[in-house]
Every structure is written in C-alpha cells, then in structure tokens.
C-alpha cells in the first residue's frame, strides 16, 4: 500500500493524457493518404518516359535571367523541397526572383531495370537541360543537385560544362570510401550483382530497411511519442504527417543504375578518383570549372560531410564556395534554419551570378 502511494500523480496524469491523445488522434488529424504534397503551383512542361520536368509559376514580377533546374535525389520524391509553404525550398527561391524547374524522376517499373547512369545523366537530365535552354533562350542554366541527385548532376556538369552556368551541390554523394554513415557500411558489403540479377529494381522495402537502422530508437519510437504528445498542435502535426508521408513514399531504383551507383561510388569509389565512366565517357571532375557552391550539413547521418566535402577540392572551378550548416540531411533543405540561413546565402550567391 505504501509503495502505491509513492507514485507521482503527475505520472498518472501524463499516462492518461497520452492515452487520450492516442484515442483522439484519428478525430483530430488527417490520414496521410488524405494529405496532398503538391504545394507551390507548377506545370508539367516536358515528359520523357516516366520523368517529368516541372516548371514552378513565378511569384515575382521580375526574375533573374538564368533559370535554375533542381535534380532531386533517387530516394523518396521531390516533395521535400516544397513540403509546406513556410519551409519550402522552391517557394523561397521563387520569392527571391529565380525561375525554378524541378526534375521528377517518376516511378520506374520492372521494364526500366536496364536504365543506367547514362540514361539518367545523358538522357533524362540532358533532355531537361536542353528543353530549359530552348524555352528560356539561354545557352547555359544553373543546376542544383541534392543527395544522390547531386551525384547525377555532378557527373552531368563534368560531361556537359558548356550547358551549366552555375552549379550547386547540396549534400552530394561523392567520396564513398570516406562516408562514415551506416548506409555506406551496408552498401560496401552488398552483393549488388546478385541483387540486381535476382530482383531487378531496388525495391522501396529495402530502402525502408536501410532507413530503419538510422537512429532506430529516436526515429522508430521517440518520434511517434512526440507526435501523440503534440496531437493538439496543428502546425506540428501537419509538418509531421507531411514529412512522414514523404518518407514513406520512395520509388524503386532501376537495377542497373543502382548497381553502378553502389559499385562506382561506395565500393570502388571511382567518381572522386576521376576514374568513373558513364556511357563510355570519362568523368573528369576538373572539367567542372564554372562557379560552384557546395552545401554540407554537419549532422548529416545519410551522407556524411566527409563524403560530400571532397567535391569542393576536386573540381576545376576558381570561383567556388563551401558552406557547412549545423543541421541534418533534411534540415538543410526543409527547416526554419534553411529558410533563415541556407537559402538567403544561396540566393545571394546565385543572384550575383545569374
């Protein structure tokens, strides 16, 4: 009896409140399926196979002359760059007067298992760049790559420097041997030949497993506890569900592309050693000689700073800038820090060169 009386009544109160929140949750918030991740108005202006080129509608009267094309990553979808108005990377750049295009890689099917780096770099990305050049009457455009999208855009920029006026690499996957993340450890021990031969495209479920081993207790338990604790906080809940929906929607990665990515980047580390070939063409990072801005997140647990940073030192540009931010992989592109610090710095740098 005595031990029962020692329980702090606040604990019982907290437990009851938490249980009530869990029960009330379906009444208070939308199901992730009911949430649309399309935020800033845009038009699909060009399509090739399953890829789409999105053109965002301008938010300013005057715009900088050089358009910016964003090459999003191969994992998850482009929506994180426009996840909600107050944290939208795209909207912020539109408000700064930039003309923004986004390349949506689409959803590959079994039929696309033979798509490789060459298709993505010299096919889809090059076609999108050519389209924008023609539409905007520019001989060169600005290009930004994020995460694995930056691996593709780095290769593109090295192969087609004549089309890129400014290059922005945001958390690029470049030096696989220096990468200290769990992802790189799994990638280094993967029998990727057997994997692609047996199952074709890399299934989303495999990606979800890889994500689940990153901070498993914070991300797997505490995150959801916080969600239910804050169920009355509309802003928090809305942001949480949007990011969760984005996290739970990753397309398969074409088998051949995945194979080349794991082997050339993580296992043999060819890109940073200037030994990588795409479609028979040699990738020489020294050919990246235009103004280049590299953005790195110090707390990135998906692409470690050691993996991204070597790009800054390997390229041939004389006008190059390296910025490091005290945030994580997603925090760098979709947070209040990105709105207050990362985007204003990028906008200033880009405006001076656009």
């Amino acid at each position: 009896m005595q031990s029962e009386s020692k329980i702090d009544p606040k604990i019982i109160e907290e437990v009851l409140k938490f249980s009530k929140n869990v029960i009330d949750a379906p009444k208070l918030v939308s199901a992730p399926d009911e949430i649309s991740l399309e935020v800033t108005p845009h038009d699909t202006v060009f399509e090739l196979d399953k890829t789409r080129l999105l053109h965002y509608r301008s938010l300013t009267e005057k715009q900088h002359k050089t358009p910016l094309l964003i090459s999003y990553a191969l994992i998850n979808r482009y929506h994180i760059l426009d996840i909600q108005p107050e944290k939208s990377w795209v909207r912020n750049l539109l408000q700064q007067g930039f003309d923004i295009y986004m390349l949506d890689w689409g959803t590959p099917t079994s039929m696309d298992k033979y798509l490789d780096f060459d298709d993505y770099v010299n096919g889809y990305l090059d076609s999108a760049v050519e389209y924008i050049k023609n539409e905007s009457s520019n001989e060169k455009i600005s290009l930004q790559g994020y995460c694995t999208g930056a691996t593709i855009s780095t290769a593109y920029t090295a192969l087609h420097p004549e089309s890129v006026k400014n290059y922005i690499a945001t958390a690029p996957v470049i030096d696989g041997w220096r990468d200290t993340t769990v992802i790189s450890n799994l990638a280094k021990h993967m029998d990727v030949d057997k994997m692609v031969e047996t199952i074709g495209n890399m299934p989303p479920e495999f990606m979800y497993y890889c994500f689940s081993v990153l901070k498993p207790f914070e991300q797997g338990i505490e995150k959801y506890v916080k969600f239910f604790k804050n169920i009355d906080n509309k802003k928090f809940v809305d942001n949480f569900l949007r990011v969760e929906k984005w996290l739970g929607d990753t397309p398969p990665i074409p088998g051949e592309l995945f194979k080349q990515w794991i082997k050339d980047i993580y296992q043999d580390n060819l890109l940073i050693q200037n030994k990588m070939h795409i479609g028979g063409e040699h990738i020489d990072l020294k050919k990246i000689d235009m103004p280049t801005f590299t953005q790195i997140a110090v707390g990135d647990h998906l692409v470690s700073p050691e993996c991204s940073m070597p790009l800054h030192y390997a390229i041939g540009s004389e006008d190059k800038t390296l910025r490091m931010y005290p945030t994580g992989h997603v925090g760098m592109i979709a947070s209040s820090l990105s709105q207050k610090k990362v985007l204003p710095e990028l906008g200033k740098w880009l405006a001076e060169r656009s």
Partner: protein, 190 residues
C-alpha cells in the same frame, strides 16, 4: 553438419534418380499430352524437385546468418542496457525524472546500435544474410519459370531479354533525337 549434408545428398540423389528414370520411361506415351500443361511433367517435376532440395540447403545458410543477426542485436541491447543501468541506477520517481531517463536510454541505445550497424562484422553478416535471401528468391523464380513455361508463358529471362532489347532501342532513338534537336537549335541560332 556433415551427417545432415550426407543425408541431404542422399535424398537429392534418390529424388533425381527416380525423376530421371520416370522421365525416360514415360517419354514415349507423352505424345498424347504433348501440347497441354502436363506435356513435360516429368522434366518439370525434376526441375521443381531440384529447386526445392536446394532451397532447403540455402535455408540452412540463411538461418545461420539470421541467427547471427539477432545475436548481434541481442548483444548490443545487453551492453546498452548495462550502460543505462550504470548511468541511471535509480528508478525514476516523477515526470521529470522519467523524461531524463528516457533521454539517457534513447541516446545510449541509438549510439550503441549505430556503432553496431556501422561495424564490419554487422555489414559482412548482413551482406551474407541478404545474399542467402536472394538465393532463396532465385529458386522461387526458377520454380515460377517452370510453371510459366508449362502454360506457354515467357520466363523471367525471356521477359528480361525483351526489356534489354527495348532499353537498347530506346536509348539509341533517344540519343538520335537529342542530337537532331541540338543540331536544329544550333542551326536556328545561326
């Protein structure tokens, strides 16, 4: 391990012997069923039997790596829990203490498990585990191919051939189209 391998080999041999023999003995009267799904019944049964026997062999390997996988997780859990006990030996009594305890628990567990997932031992075992899982998938695919071919449908390899050919053609056409567009743009610019 050795005796189970010998037993496995014995049953494998026994099964193959009888399916081969039945196949040879029944090859002539097969004419009656030569166009139906049963037309290659003996040969198909042999393929399926072989795959099933090999699935058993791979399943043993898979279980070995799976056991190691959970052993690694269990060990990491045990070590992390000991660290938590050392850092927070007193049972939390109020909301603030519970919150502090939870933070210590999550930080230690996340650190220790990240260390495990980042280790060579984990990476190697996980790679082997996935590899064995793929072997199992391969056998399953092979069995499915036998069924597909018995009903006159293309096998996975045949479909892959078509995809490969299609990909190569699309690539060639795409490059020609892009080249033409670039030339046209240059011409217009002049």
């Amino acid at each position: 391990m050795d005796s189970s391998k010998t037993t496995m080999d014995y049953y494998k041999h026994l099964s193959l012997f009888w399916t081969d023999l039945i196949h040879l003995m029944s090859s002539k009267p097969q004419a009656l069923t030569s166009t139906g799904p049963m037309r290659a019944f003996a040969a198909n049964s042999k393929k399926v039997t072989t795959e099933l026997i090999e699935i058993n062999e791979d399943l043993m390997g898979f279980n070995q790596y799976l056991t190691e996988y959970y052993k690694q997780l269990a060990n990491a859990w045990e070590v992390a829990q000991k660290k938590v006990n050392l850092k927070a030996p007193v049972v939390p009594q109020d909301v603030e203490q519970i919150e502090a305890f939870k933070r210590i628990w999550i930080d230690i567990f996340d650190n220790d498990f990240t260390e495990l997932f980042d280790s060579k031992e984990f990476g190697e075992n996980y790679g082997k585990l996935v590899s064995k899982e793929l072997e199992l998938t391969k056998h399953w695919n092979n069995i499915a191919n036998v069924v597909l071919q018995s009903v006159n449908l293309p096998s996975k390899e045949e479909i892959d051939e078509v995809y490969k050919e299609l990909h190569s053609l699309k690539k060639r056409v795409g490059k020609i189209e892009l080249e033409l567009k670039k030339r046209e743009a240059k011409k217009n610019a002049k």
